[in-house]
């Protein structure tokens, strides 16, 4: 029905339309991700799905195992939605404590910055999707230390 030429509109129009479409998509994409994370929140670290990547994104260095960290977790968690975790350390000059759960979809669970004068002891409650190690990371004197313990989860708790 149509002359063949109609099937090939001038390239410029196509290009303009494409540009417009891209611009729209760009704007939409921007709006979609525009909401800035809360100031100071380590967004990249919280996106990571492996222990090594999360540690790297958070501190940019690797951790040495230390027996000067006390990680208190239940051996068996009947409800993975609420697993009490506490981390304390006898290391001097502790500046940060982080908790990683490699069995969760996102590895990093919580990260605390401790200004001078705050005691190196934190307690909180985490969700665990399944049986997994829980890793406590402690930054002290500019160095990174870790310890880990396994928690058996009877009922997965990503349900919160």
């Amino acid at each position: 029905m149509h002359p063949r030429a109609d099937h090939h509109p001038p390239a410029i129009h196509t290009r303009r339309a494409a540009t417009r479409l891209l611009a729209l998509l760009g704007v939409a994409g921007f709006v979609g991700t525009a909401r800035a994370a809360a100031p100071g929140w380590p967004e990249e670290a919280f996106k990571q799905t492996s222990e090594a990547d999360a540690i790297k994104a958070l501190y940019g260095k690797s951790a040495a195992t230390s027996d000067k960290i006390t990680l208190e977790v239940p051996e068996i968690a009947e409800n993975g939605a609420v697993v009490p975790v506490s981390v304390s350390s006898s290391l001097a000059d502790v500046t940060a404590i982080s908790i990683l759960v490699p069995g969760n979809p996102l590895t990093l669970a919580a990260s605390y910055t401790l200004p001078a004068g705050t005691l190196p002891s934190i307690g909180c409650r985490l969700k665990m999707a399944k049986t997994s190690n829980v890793i406590a990371l402690v930054e002290a004197g500019g160095k990174l230390y870790s310890t880990s313990k396994e928690v058996k989860v009877t009922l997965g708790g990503c349900g919160g």
Binding site: A109, A110, S121, C124, L126
Partner: protein, 103 residues
């Protein structure tokens, strides 16, 4: 409106022990509702604790922190009657703040 934040801060000589409970769904973004739709992530990202204008703890939380989060920590200093300011911000930009008195 009642605050979403409940704080118990107890000065005991050299240190002040703080326990806080915040009402928040902490939706991880990995859970489906009863109709099978993913519940979008809605969780607290940061909580700041300030005593006498000085930061005493900054908590960065991901979606793995339990619903209605609880936190316990302690810092040196702090006297009975001192204000302790707690402020949280979530991934939707919502925020709440409370000034508690150290007891």
């Amino acid at each position: 409106m009642a605050s979403s934040i409940r704080v118990r801060a107890q000065a005991n000589g050299k240190t002040t022990e703080v326990q806080a409970l915040i009402q928040h769904p902490m939706d991880s973004g990995f859970v489906k509702d009863s109709s099978g739709k993913l519940i979008p992530p809605h969780h607290i990202e940061t909580v700041r604790f300030e005593h006498a204008g000085k930061l005493v703890l900054m908590a960065n939380w991901g979606p793995a922190v339990s619903k209605d989060p609880y936190i316990k920590f302690a810092f040196e200093g702090g006297a009975k009657g001192d204000p302790l300011v707690v402020t949280w911000v979530d991934n939707l930009g919502k925020t709440d703040t409370l000034t508690a008195k150290i007891g």
